[in-house]
Symmetry: C2
Subunit: 146 residues, 2 copies
Amino acid sequence: MLKEKYTQYSFLLDRTARRVKQYAQAAFAQKDFDITIDQWAILKVLYNDDPMTHKDLAEKCGKDQPTLTRIIDLLIKKELVQRVEHPDDRRCLQIMLSGNGKQKVEELTPAVAEIRMKAWSNLSEEDFAHFTRILNTIYNNLNQPI
Amino acid sequence: MLKEKYTQYSFLLDRTARRVKQYAQAAFAQKDFDITIDQWAILKVLYNDDPMTHKDLAEKCGKDQPTLTRIIDLLIKKELVQRVEHPDDRRCLQIMLSGNGKQKVEELTPAVAEIRMKAWSNLSEEDFAHFTRILNTIYNNLNQPI
DNA sequence: TAGCAATTATTAGTGTGACAACTAAAATAG
DNA sequence: CTATTTTAGTTGTCACACTAATAATTGCTA
């Protein structure tokens, strides 16, 4: 491979990831969802698998633990989730959706899907398959110590 | 297209972009480059096209202006770039590399290329072409007001 | 030419990301 | 059963992203 050519991907990747996030965030703001993209991602995971410990939730969401702690703090302020003690291990805290939280996920899910789909105009099923495969390969290539 | 399936890409995209950045940052730290990935990106652009105004530099780097202002502040502290006044427009400030900055770019370029290549193990030239095309398509799809 | 609009850069505020250091509790070794 | 190590979570610090608001300057227009 010619090196120079291949060092540009990181710019495109970063730029596109930010654009996707920013587009969705702007749509959330316009529709008064009163929640950020990252907060949404966490609610969505909890909706499917609830309760979960901080550690498991962080792993599932692909965030580190300090970041997760802070996002959960914000979600608690908004009364969308609760922290409850783990029955067997007093180090652990489990997170679960509140009634409000469940309702929020159910209300917003269709609109979020609509927003997310916008990215895939002019692209095919095959493109989607390529894209996810390549992203996962890159992730795994770098998912080791230097 | 089936919507549910296609709403997952944003998670993978975000996760991979963060991993790429974090991998490169860890490599920078290990080699004592004393600079962040985003700071590097700006130095690299300036090396090819120097001087540039804040506005043009922000656009070229895909960053917004407040972010750029702060990164430039940090680069000035490290004495890698300088701000100079625009000859014709006193609103504008132009940024140019210092001697140190130029030297830094020349020293680090090969090592950075090496680090960036790691992501492409197990992938082909064709994958690269797909990947950049799809990223650009997504970017353009979302590069309009909601 | 005086007044208003557009442009360039900065500052403030909030949210997120990475890393290091810390506390508390549990697991394990001796 | 005590002492050490490991694990779960939090806090602190710095860097970056996005929005809104602001200051300074320029350009336009009446």
